[in-house]
């Protein structure tokens, strides 16, 4: 024997490892086994990815409110690869739900839960519930507005449950408000209790699958069984690979939301659950008044009970999947119901408040800029200054780095230079900028504010805010109002406007100020719809 084989034999004698792997890989499976049976493996794989990425996220995460948010911002904005890691965990959760449901759909369609596989099915239903529990508890952990308000609603629902409601509320630490106690409980559940529970149930589930064997289709008894390895193992691998590629691409391409820090006093926030809970959320809306409990507690409980009892309700002999029209019908109805409820929930969701469009995982220093400086960003982009100039770090370009050079120049110098570049810098190849004096002033104000430290933060100022600031400057709002401590005090300061007024009020106020605030001497403004949207959006993201 070669040394490799000898080593394997030695290891197997001591641990039985090789025999175990061999038994596992060369398990007999029915001749009909094929691509439709890959989903269980994919779900298991996704669970492992969640455990892996979750543990890595925990290495840079502080599990207390406030700190949680800051540490997540740190993960996303500063830790190398942090954005990808959170992307994998976030989208992995959604994908896990999708795959688990696909897995159950397949088992249901094929009637694979029938005698003697009832226990396997029930363990599976509990695994589904655990998966949802991860979604529910994980939702709070970023501690942004979305997390906070979503959890306020869920814990209130739990507290409504008959008999056990108060106990549930106490268990979740949410008798008063969602706060540090609830946060600790959710975190504890999410990382300490749920994972071992899931692992145990998976072991039981897989053990039962092995004990009873993969469910055969009618006709299999006449055909020779196959081995799991390598053909079915190949199919599982391909399915897992496809799932992984989708997950990876989503994690890289799709932005994972991180909103403003949770604010219990924010009255404008519209809480919505994660997409896979939207149907429950919508069901709740169908029942009002004393019937509310039906939608919140009774129906979901009945649904879970029905799922558990499926193998005992459908006790007929195993039939071909194409003959199981009733099961297919039930499934179609469920799919239509789910889609309808989810679609209704999406359609009835009001347009999100403007603040949600800001990605708080990026630097947000631009929020502190005055409207003049902000409008300067607009002209800076409009004139394509960045095609010749670097700002902060980056490849050297023809013109000097504006984040470093402007510190030494005055605004007056810059404005002269904008009008006739070569007059101030002999030999300069820069073309003159065709803007009015006031506009050049604005541009200079922005450049004076620029330094290597804030360059990146200012570059991330979103287009709608810059556009709004341009309109603000053009209409000289600053001669009566104040934003970020710059401007006049004739009218009310505009920071904190979103606390005082609705967007609709502000829009109507622009059109006819005196109708809403009698005695005001603010002139009416005729904005186009886009202009109106931009200026209102800008005013509503201003910090307090």
């Amino acid at each position: 024997m070669r040394w490799k084989e000898r080593a394997l034999v030695w290891l197997d004698h001591r641990t039985g490892l090789e025999t175990a792997v061999r038994n596992f890989l060369y398990e007999q499976i029915p001749a009909s086994s094929s691509w439709h049976q890959v989903f269980g493996s994919v779900a298991l794989f996704l669970f492992l990815v969640q455990a892996f990425t979750g543990a890595l996220l925990a290495f840079n995460y502080a599990p207390t409110p406030g700190d949680a948010y800051n540490s997540l911002r740190y993960i996303m904005a500063e830790v190398t690869g942090g954005r990808l890691m959170r992307g994998l965990h976030h989208w992995g959760a959604s994908m896990m739900i999708v795959v688990v449901v696909l897995h159950m759909t397949q088992v249901f369609l094929y009637g694979a839960y029938k005698k003697p596989r009832e226990a396997t099915w029930i363990a599976g239903v509990f695994l589904l519930l655990l998966t949802l529990a991860y979604g529910l508890t994980g939702y709070l952990l970023p501690w942004d507005n979305r997390a906070y308000w979503g959890t306020v609603v869920t814990t209130r629902i739990a507290a409504q449950a008959p008999l056990i409601g108060p106990y549930l509320a106490r268990l979740l630490g949410s008798q008063g408000d969602v706060g540090v106690v609830t946060f600790a409980r959710f975190y504890g559940l999410h990382v300490l209790l749920l994972p071992p529970a899931t692992a145990l149930l998976i072991v039981l589930h897989v053990y039962l699958v092995r004990k009873h064997g993969v469910a055969p289709a009618p006709g299999d008894e006449a055909r020779l069984p196959k081995k799991f390895f390598p053909e079915q193992a190949f199919r599982d691998t391909v399915a897992i690979f496809i799932a992984f590629v989708i997950l990876f691409v989503m994690a890289v391409v799709v932005r994972v939301p991180l909103e403003e820090l949770a604010d219990p006093t924010d009255t404008s926030y519209i809480p919505r659950p994660e997409w896979y809970f939207l149907f429950l959320f919508q069901t709740l809306k169908l029942f009002t008044g004393p019937l509310e409990m039906v939608g919140a507690v009774v129906l979901p409980t009945l649904a879970i009970l029905t799922l558990v009892l499926v193998p005992f309700i459908d006790r007929g002999r195993m039939r071909k999947v194409t003959k199981r029209t009733f099961a297919a019908g039930v499934l179609c109805l469920a799919a239509i119901g789910w889609t309808g409820l989810t679609a209704a929930a999406v359609v009835t969701t009001p347009k999100p408040a403007v603040a949600e469009q800001i990605d708080f995982s990026q630097p947000t220093d631009w929020l502190q800029l005055s409207p003049v400086e902000m409008a300067g960003i607009g002209y800076f982009r409009q004139e394509n200054c960045a095609s010749c100039h670097t700002v902060g770090d980056g490849k050297p370009k023809i013109g000097p780095d504006l984040a470093r050079i402007t510190i030494h120049k005055s605004a007056a110098w810059m404005i002269q230079h904008f009008k006739r570049p070569s007059a101030m810098v002999p030999g300069s190849a820069m073309p003159p900028i065709a803007l009015s004096g006031a506009q050049l002033n604005t541009l200079a104000a922005f450049l004076l504010k620029l330094n290597p430290r804030n360059a990146e933060a200012l570059a991330s100022a979103p287009e709608f805010a810059v556009g709004g600031a341009l309109i603000y400057q053009k209409n000289q709002c600053g001669s009566c109002h104040m934003v970020n401590s710059v401007g006049m005090k004739v009218g009310p300061p505009l920071n904190g406007l979103k606390r005082r007024r609705t967007e609709d009020w502000v829009e109507r106020h622009f059109q006819d100020p005196q109708a809403l605030s009698p005695g005001s001497f603010m002139p009416a403004y005729k904005f186009t719809p886009t202009e109106m949207q931009k200026i209102v959006a800008y005013l509503f993201v201003l910090p307090e």
């Binding site: 500063e78 190398t80 994998l88 390598p230 691998t237």
Partner: protein
Amino acid sequence: MQQVAEAAPQTTRRRFYLTFIYGLWGAISAALAAPAFIYLFLPPKMRRESDWVEAGDVSKLQLKNPVEMVFRKNAVDGWKVSSEQQTAWVVKLSDQQIVAFGPQCTHLGCAYHWEERSSEFLCPCHSSVFSVDGKVVSGPAPRPLDRYDTKIENGKLLLGALRESRSLKS
């Protein structure tokens, strides 16, 4: 011959499966391991700290007579930015040169102090001794005392980043 001809499609098929199984799992492992490695081992993007902090008045410093100065500095620790109290031993080495040493011994990080009698810095942990200009006189310390970047404006000492001193052995 016949047997071989029958076995051939079976073996190619098996080889095809095996290649894919190993290849795809290799790709998945790499795509998970590489980001994990980057995440754990590459340093995070640095937030630049506030550049210069005022430590105190240096116009009354006496030559070669170290003074411990206490100042507040924004310290960035992971996701936490906190205003921390820090200290520096400030020495006027000549009329032109003022240096500020970091307050920790370069051996194992204990706080050292100035011994008036012997005119040396002494670390109480393992008896490292440094001269007034920070050089190692004796003891286990591997390199001279670390120094802050310094500049003086209007008689006030401004401190920048704390630089690790280069080992003398290298």
